[in-house]
Each structure stands twice: as structure tokens, then as C-alpha cells.
Symmetry: C2
Subunit: 123 residues, 2 copies
């Protein structure tokens, strides 16, 4: 699929909360996912679809996601940016908060090979 087809489908699936399906359909097996930051001792970079799936599972196991608003896509060649506004309560703290991040996706051979999340770290 072309970059804009993937971008539009990804927006659609993320809006429907079907990000697991999106990973299965659009991510390369060797895709890399990079956070803007990570807790001390943790790696901000996940390599491979297996590790990306585990990160997703960890996120949903530890957070109650109340709402996700997706904006974009904004394309540029074989990349595009999506915006995510997330209203979430971490199960450990119970303290609901809202965050906004931008995600930069890179496509190769019709698959997402890299996703990079841009956001402020706490503090």
C-alpha cells in the first residue's frame, strides 16, 4: 500500500480503538518503535513487532484509556505524522491526566518500519 493509504487506514483503526489490528496489518516484522523517553533503566526503543506488541499490552494492562483523539495524517514522502490526544488513568496511581503527542511513521515497501513518539517528559 502507498503511504497515504496506510496513513488513512491507521487513523481509521486508531479512532476505532483497533490499534492491535493496525499493528498486525501495517507493521513490518522488524519495525522499530521509539519513545521520547523511558523510565530509568528502561529502553525507549523497542525492536521488532513482538516487542512492540508487548509494549502495547503493557500499556493497556496498566492504564485505563478513557479517550483517544487522532488528528492528521500530515504526509511528507514516505513518512507521515499523526497527533494523539490521550485521556488516561494509570491504574497504579489512579490519577487521571491528559497528554498530547505526535507520532512520526516511516514506510518502506508498503509497511511501517519505524514509529517515533514526540512528547514532553514529565517535570
Amino acid at each position: 500500500m502507498k503511504t497515504m493509504e496506510i496513513a488513512n487506514k491507521l487513523v481509521e483503526l486508531c479512532r476505532e480503538g483497533k490499534d492491535e489490528e493496525a499493528q498486525r496489518l501495517f507493521y513490518a516484522e522488524d519495525a522499530v518503535s521509539v519513545e521520547a523517553g523511558a523510565p530509568p533503566g528502561k529502553d525507549p526503543e523497542m525492536k521488532g513487532l513482538g516487542a512492540i506488541r508487548e509494549k502495547r499490552e503493557w500499556w493497556y494492562a496498566n492504564h485505563e484509556v478513557l479517550q483517544v483523539t487522532v488528528t492528521g495524517p500530515w504526509p511528507h514522502g514516505d513518512r507521515f505524522i499523526l497527533g494523539f490526544k490521550i485521556d488516561v488513568t494509570p491504574k497504579a496511581s489512579g490519577q487521571r491526566f491528559q497528554m498530547e503527542e505526535m507520532a512520526l511513521y516511516t514506510i518502506r515497501s508498503g509497511k511501517i518500519v519505524r514509529e517515533e513518539f514526540f512528547y514532553h517528559m514529565g517535570g
Copy 2:
């Protein structure tokens, strides 16, 4: 300056319409600026601060910019994203329109060395 200092100053100057000053202060002499697209026969990539300045001058000579709204920054390592909503009337057509784009900036040695604009091409 550090990435977030540059990002915050850039937002401030762009909000004040002082993007010429921002270029002078924060851009490396060999900075590269890449548009998502270009008219037939034109290059989407401008190399060097001189060419970037000329692009800026062309833009203001040919457009009446009614409003610019800047969002962000969203940082990730030595890069950050800003959002621009632009309300503009091209002088040639007189047809006012609104556009939204994301800009991805890369910092090296305390200067912006690359800016890339993400947006839909017309049609």
C-alpha cells in the same frame, strides 16, 4: 542552546511573526529545508540559509498572511515538531484559504540543521 530552548524560542518568535529573526538566530549556515511537495520543475529542497531566506522572502512577497497559529513543541531527542495553522491569501489568485502543517526540526551543535514540512498536497 539545547533542543527545548531552541524549540520554545522558535515558537515564541514565530507567534510574534519574527521568523526572519528566528532564522538568523537558530539556523545553521548549511541548514536544509524540505517541503512535502513543489510545483512541477521546482525543487522541494532548499540547501543553505541563503536559499531558505529566499524561500521565505518569496512566500511573503506572494502571499498575504492573515494569521499564523503555532502549536507545540513536541520534542524527541535532538528533534522536535511544531504545528502551524495558516490563514492566507495568495496575491495571484486572491483566494483565501486555511492550511495546517507540521514541521519537523533537527538540531545539531545547538543549531537547526534541517526543517521538514508535512502537509497534504492539493487535490
